[in-house]
């Protein structure tokens, strides 16, 4: 079915994980070949008659040789000097099989998200439903706050000050039909919101960015962004007003 697609060596020790990544990469347009470790990977890469692999996807926590040494060994083989290395997250990309038949772009996105994802649950959570995301993730807030209270106050304060202006800029861009500009601001807002633990706002910005990229009217998605921005800002202001744990 994937004849003519670029061949990818999937090196994952665990059977379930390997199968999951093969499914995900197959759905993303590759011809995956799963192997359980470095010796099998080297044999597969050198197999006579097979096209040279276009990519090696290696489990980040691969036992024994490790992904870096394996990459070096494979790249030393004739004709494979520039073979790219994808580092895969631990475990199986749970939930991908279900989405594979229904939504290939979602699988591609999720697979990319898992390239260096910390865990299988992180991979599964990325394309999940909006309700699964928190308005404000307390674990993320605690981590950011741990870098120092003055920095936290300054960073979040500036983010909240700039938020109305960024939303207005998106609206203005969409109003004049500048989908690229609107999508670009939504993309930037997505990055900072997500990094501060504002999961639903991150997801709403992602939807708006996608609408803009695909040339659709982004105003309904912008309304959702505004709603989530309001909720996230309210939650974050409450956090700012409260003293940090242990203070």
């Amino acid at each position: 079915m994937n004849d003519g697609c670029p061949r990818v060596l999937v090196v994952v020790g665990d059977d379930t994980g390997r199968q999951g990544w093969c499914t995900a990469l197959g759905a993303a347009g590759f011809l995956p070949e799963g192997v359980d470790g470095p010796p099998a990977a080297i044999l597969a890469a050198r197999r006579a008659g097979a096209p040279p692999p276009a990519l090696m996807a290696v489990e980040a926590g691969l036992k024994g040789m490790g992904p870096v040494l394996l990459a070096r060994a494979l790249r030393s083989l004739p004709g494979m000097g520039g073979l790219p290395l994808l580092l895969l997250g631990a475990g199986a990309p749970a939930g991908l099989e279900r989405s594979a038949s229904a939504d290939t772009p979602a699988v591609a996105g999720a697979a990319a998200r898992g390239l260096l994802a910390a865990s299988a649950s992180g991979v599964a959570a990325a394309p999940g439903a909006q309700s699964e995301q928190p308005v404000l993730d307390p674990a993320v807030v605690a981590r950011v706050r741990a870098y120092g209270e003055p920095m936290f106050q300054q960073l979040v304060g500036q983010y909240l000050d700039e938020l109305p202006q960024r939303l207005a800029q998106i609206e203005q861009a969409l109003g004049r039909g500048d989908l690229k500009g609107g999508g670009g601001i939504a993309h930037a807002l997505k990055g900072s919101s997500g990094s501060l633990g504002m999961g639903r706002l991150w997801q709403a910005c992602g939807t708006l960015e996608k609408e803009c990229r695909e040339g659709r009217d982004g105003l309904p998605a912008l309304a959702a962004v505004r709603t989530q921005a309001e909720a996230a800002a309210t939650a974050m202001r409450a956090v700012l007003a409260a003293p940090p744990a242990g203070a």
Partner: protein, 140 residues
Amino acid sequence: MASILVVDDDMVVRELVAAHLRARGFAVVDAPDGRAAQQMLESRRIDLVVLDLEMPLMDGHQLLRWLRAEQPLVRAVVLTGSSSVQEALACLRAGAFAFVTKPLVDMAALDRAVDLAVQVIATWHDQLGFVRRRRLGALL
């Protein structure tokens, strides 16, 4: 300890990543775009660049190409909100060491990429030192 340059036009992400890496003991500097990053790379020793893709003046793809041509020993970890396999491959083919997607809900993925890159850099420096010592030995 490796020196790291964080390049992102988003102040929140840039400051958070820089603070996290500093807390881990790395020497960290930062820049808001590719052009400013280029100037820093030309004026001081940087081992690793953590860079965003979508940036003004000079974007991440341009910076990756410049690094490959001008500073091939510097490793690059791409940190981006674009999560497609095709984008990841394009970056890896352009010379990126790793591709990590935002949001940084936890820093484990970034840490893993940085640690692997630092491991490779250290090995490379060891090899360089070995070659220099051998050459020096031959001269003496």
